[in-house]
């Protein structure tokens, strides 16, 4: 009798442990941080970094990449080779992330890599659909001096002198 109780107890304990270690929804990415230095004299410049995403589930998931903060502005835009796509079970995907640096400066932001399970919503009652997000911290820094447009200042000066000369002639008349 006692043995039976112990056995039942052990089975129940094993069940509890199993419940707690169920892998229902997972994912992984690398790298979780990206820091890029750009020479200001090379601006505008495009820097491309590879982001690797792993679908560790045995079902497909939807992947969305969301740039946030200063990396999504008129001075620095961020593009992805692929976005809002379905990843097969167990798949690994490399995404090219391009930072288009248009103006010298220091930019901080993040890319949220979001994993969502497709379909299978609960049928009854109120619910929150769960997703996973891996924020990739991004810092883009420019170093040195930005290159000016060659001859721009000289052309600008000549045009200004001509306009001034014409204006003077007109006022003298």
């Amino acid at each position: 009798m006692n043995n039976l109780r112990i056995k039942v107890g052990l089975i129940f304990l094993a069940f509890l442990i199993a419940v707690h270690t169920v892998s229902a929804f997972g994912g992984a990415i690398t790298p979780p941080k990206i820091a890029v230095k750009v020479n200001a004299s090379d601006i505008p410049q495009k820097v491309t970094v590879t982001l690797r995403i792993y679908n560790t589930n045995n079902y497909p998931v939807k992947i969305s990449l969301i740039p946030q903060g200063e990396i999504n502005s008129s001075s620095l835009s961020t593009d992805f080779s692929k976005n809002g796509f379905l990843m097969n079970a167990g798949a690994k995907e490399d995404i090219n992330v391009s930072f288009n640096v248009k103006k010298a400066g220091s930019y901080n932001g993040s890319i949220i890599v979001k994993f969502e399970k497709v379909g299978n919503n609960p049928k009854h009652g109120s619910y929150l659909k769960t997703s996973l997000a891996f924020p990739v911290g991004v810092e883009v820094k420019t170093t040195g001096k930005e290159r000016g447009i060659p001859g721009f200042f000289a052309i600008y000066s000549i045009v200004a002198i001509v306009i001034l000369a014409l204006f003077r002639r007109k006022t003298k008349k």
């Binding site: 707690h20 690398t30 990206i34 109120s126």
Partner: protein
């Protein structure tokens, strides 16, 4: 009589030898060859320091000693992410004196292979000597160093040191393995839910526990480097699918009950923006260290009947 002859003969012989000895002192040169000795890499002095782009040191080791109380002190394998700086340094010795090394060649090589294989997949870093170690009281050793920034590499690399002196003689322990480093390890989690359901509730009901509680978040540490994770959570408001009502995110909260195999009890109120559940030291890898929390909701009143839905996002940040 015989004795006198012997003494006389000895005296003559001695007198004859004096000029001979003097001429020997003038003409004989003493020569010896001092061999060029192979340098030696002191692997116990190998230093690795990892810095974030902001310049914060997150990991440091010298030989087998790891500096305590840094963010990555507990890493199983030291790791660094894209754009982070790694400083390497090592002491190289030469019994011919440090002058035999300053024009020598010291390389720090990161190689996925163990033992070292010169097969083209390695990262070769040319080290230079620290000028402060030239002409100091230590006449035999120079410290060589290299600062390097991590790029888009991924994987485990063994660190080797190769040294030759200025005559091209290789170190007696060349290609000595001085450690390993993981470049850009992956961040991974799994949770035991894909949705949080509150079932059928009535307006004004309080402390409604989500059916899936406790929610369990595991740090899977896919590359087994011992990375810790910070965890955050956000929820949207629950909105009536038929329109006409909503349950604000602020009516929900997570009660944290366990992390890193320790019982806890604190609440985090939900919001549309990510709320930090756990920062440093974060969750250690392994299911024993899982973060566990219960999710609760207060149902507002009045509230029109219907099915209310929203979303919850769990954030994982590698430290």
């Amino acid at each position: 009589m015989d004795k006198r002859i012997f003494i006389l003969a000895g005296l003559i012989a001695a007198l004859l030898c004096v000029p001979a000895l003097a001429s020997t002192q003038q003409q004989t040169s003493v020569t010896t060859n001092v061999q060029n000795v192979a340098p030696h890499v002191y692997n116990g002095t190998f230093k690795t320091q990892i810095k974030t782009i902001q310049g914060s040191v997150v990991y440091e080791s010298i030989g087998n000693y790891v500096t305590p109380n840094l963010l990555r002190t507990n890493a199983i394998i030291p790791y660094a992410f894209y754009g982070e700086g790694i400083s390497f340094s090592v002491k190289v010795s030469d019994q011919n004196g440090e002058g035999d090394l300053d024009n020598g060649d010291v390389k720090i090589i990161l190689d996925p292979d163990h033992p070292y294989a010169n097969d083209g997949d390695e990262i070769v870093l040319q080290a230079g000597y620290n000028p402060a170690t030239v002409g100091d009281s230590d006449q035999y050793n120079l410290t060589f160093q290299k600062d390097w920034t991590v790029g888009n590499q991924h994987g485990l690399y063994y660190v080797y040191v190769m040294a030759t002196d200025e005559h091209g003689l290789a170190a007696d322990n060349n290609a000595v393995c001085v450690g390993k480093i993981f470049l850009n390890p992956a961040v991974g989690i799994d949770v035991n839910v894909t949705s949080l359901t509150f079932g059928n509730v009535v307006p004004g009901e309080t402390n409604v526990l989500a059916n899936e509680s406790p929610i369990v978040v595991n740090n899977t540490d896919p590359d087994h480097v011992g990375m810790m994770l910070a965890i955050g959570i956000s929820t949207t408001d629950l909105t009536n699918q038929d329109g006409g009502g909503q349950i604000p995110a602020s009516n929900m909260w997570a009660n944290i009950i366990s992390v890193n195999n320790m019982t806890t009890n604190y609440n985090v109120t939900m919001s549309n923006s990510a709320q930090v559940i756990l920062t440093y030291p974060g969750i250690y890898p392994g299911s024993n260290n899982a973060l566990m929390f219960n999710m609760y909701m207060n149902v507002p009143t009045p509230l029109v009947s219907g099915t209310y839905t929203g979303s919850a996002t769990i954030y994982a940040i590698g430290i």
